[in-house]
């Protein structure tokens, strides 16, 4: 086998390995920045006005809970506020994601609700079938349990556990891929000490491949929209999940496009160096011919 052929095979293999390292780096970065952060969840929650809509749904459900008990919607006047629900919801979500305990202070809600119910009972002359205080306490306890159930995001603890695992491994994998990438670039450079256009060509192959690998999943998601067909209820939870996925897809798309631009720059650089080299060689050859003729 000719020495130049061996060199080409080594460069192709190194380029292929580099494409894998670049792809892993890009996808891990996309996942870490776009999906696996508490911030990405918070942004999606905020964008779809999750807690504002949850508050409306919660108040609606609360009314449905107390109406069969003989009470009216006005017993909730001044008990819960959207600001407090948002604050409780965010604190509870952070606790679930970080696997810590956050105890929501329900005392003020319960006290106010109890006062309102007693006023309602007196005003509407309702009769209690048993101890009135015990009945009211059972109703308020039911509502408080419902409050905690409503503000918790489904599977938040599991999601937090996945985030923590990804974040724990991310620096090591990122660093390892970076080292491997540098080694492969060094190998490619070593094999082509005098032909830099070839170095950039192999780098362009690898980075373009990384760009394709990174761009395929988000383009597939955008093209098929399969994630919008998930049957999740209620509407605000569905909107939150879809927005969270879309935000993550956008980050992946941006990273893929950046890689694509870098690959194009590498192609341009390789072509430029190649033509410059040919031009210099041709110019040099032309001068040599003139000298011999002279």
């Amino acid at each position: 086998m000719k020495k130049s052929s061996v060199r080409t095979v080594i460069c192709i293999l190194a380029s292929m390995l580099l494409s894998i390292f670049v792809s892993v780096l890009a996808i891990m970065l996309s996942v870490e920045l776009g999906f696996a952060t508490n911030n990405s969840l918070a942004i999606a929650l905020d964008e779809v006005k999750y807690y504002e809509r949850l508050y409306e749904d919660f108040m609606d459900k609360c009314e449905s809970v107390v109406i069969p008990d003989g009470l009216g919607a006005e017993v909730f006047d001044g008990v819960f506020t959207v600001e407090q629900l948002k604050s409780d919801g965010n604190a509870y979500l952070n606790a679930q994601l970080n696997s810590t305990v956050y105890k929501i202070n329900l005392d003020s809600y319960k006290t106010k609700l109890t006062i309102n119910i007693k006023e309602y009972v007196e005003k509407n002359q309702l009769v209690a079938d048993g101890n009135e205080d015990e009945i009211i306490e059972a109703i308020t306890d039911n509502i408080m349990d419902y409050y905690i159930k409503m503000i918790s995001i489904p599977y938040a603890s599991t999601i937090g556990s996945i985030f923590r695992t990804i974040s724990a491994y991310f620096p090591y994998v990122f660093f390892a891929m970076l080292i491997f990438a540098i080694i492969t670039i060094w190998i490619i450079n070593k094999q082509n000490p005098h032909k830099k256009n070839r170095v950039f060509r192999y780098l362009a192959y690898a980075i373009m491949s990384g760009a394709i690998t990174t761009l395929v999943p988000p383009i597939y998601c955008i093209y098929t929209n399969f994630y919008t067909k998930i049957q999740v209820y209620p509407g605000y939870l569905y909107d939150f999940i879809v927005r969270y996925i879309e935000n993550g897809i956008r980050i992946m798309l941006i990273i893929g496009i950046i890689l694509f631009i870098v690959a194009i720059a590498m192609i341009a650089l390789s072509t430029y160096i190649k033509y410059k080299y040919i031009h210099v060689k041709h110019h040099h050859h032309h001068h040599s011919s003139d000298d011999s003729e002279a």
Binding site: G70, A128, I136, R201, Y205, Q231, Y233, Y238, A263
Partner: protein, 214 residues
């Protein structure tokens, strides 16, 4: 061209190797997503549709008998507002929705969707909260007339009987009854704090209303 097919080849190879290595996990993820997905995005419009249009269907009166064409009678879907139930003496006037979930019972009177619309000669079961639309039932008396106004005419029923039964009493009404009967029920006693296990049932028989003709 090499700048296209070489990177494409690398990417295909990378995806191929990834699929071979993690095909079980990928298949599981795909199955999981398909399990919770449908052909289209879910519909969250929870606004109940109203199919009630006053005097929408022509009622022909001949020899004291009212008739409507069967083809003109609109059938309600779950959640549709399709009628109004009224009893002037007790100030009962409420919209009737087909279905009886919590959301419906906050907006009006709900109809057990296993029961029939007026005019079909079958059982009609209506329910509502006793502190809302059916609070008026506490004043109902035998002989009172209750009307159900639909888009295809108004049906009148005369109250024949009232009963207090347990919520689980299966003898409260009969779906296979051989004549058109209106049953309305609500929680009992009225003006009580907390959930009550008993229900106040009101039974009424059809006395007038349009007959369907082909």
């Amino acid at each position: 061209m090499a700048y296209i097919y070489v990177p494409l080849f690398f990417s295909f190879l990378a995806y191929g190797v990834t699929y071979l290595m993690a095909s079980d996990v990928i298949d599981m993820a795909v199955n999981l997503v398909s399990l919770i997905s449908a052909d289209k995005a879910p519909d969250f419009s929870n606004e109940n549709n109203s199919i009630f249009v006053k005097d929408a269907v022509e009622v022909v009166e001949e020899d004291g008998v009212q008739t409507v064409k069967r083809a003109d009678v609109g059938m309600a879907d779950y959640g549709d507002l399709y009628a109004y139930v009224r009893c002037t003496r007790i100030a009962l006037d409420a919209p009737v929705y087909y279905g009886d979930d919590d959301a419906i019972l906050k907006k009006g009177v709900g109809q057990d969707f296993a029961s029939s619309q007026p005019g079909f000669g079958r059982l009609i079961v209506l329910c509502a909260h006793n502190n809302m639309y059916f609070n008026a039932l506490k004043n109902i008396e035998i002989g009172d007339i209750v009307e159900i106004e639909t888009s295809y005419g108004t049906y009148s029923y005369e109250i024949k009987e009232t009963k207090i039964l347990n919520e689980n009493d299966s003898s409260a009404f009969d779906y296979a009854i051989d004549h058109e009967q209106l049953v309305m029920y609500t929680c009992y006693p009225f003006d009580m704090l907390a959930h009550t296990p008993n229900r106040f049932f009101v039974y009424a028989d059809l006395i007038s209303g349009p007959v369907f003709v082909d």
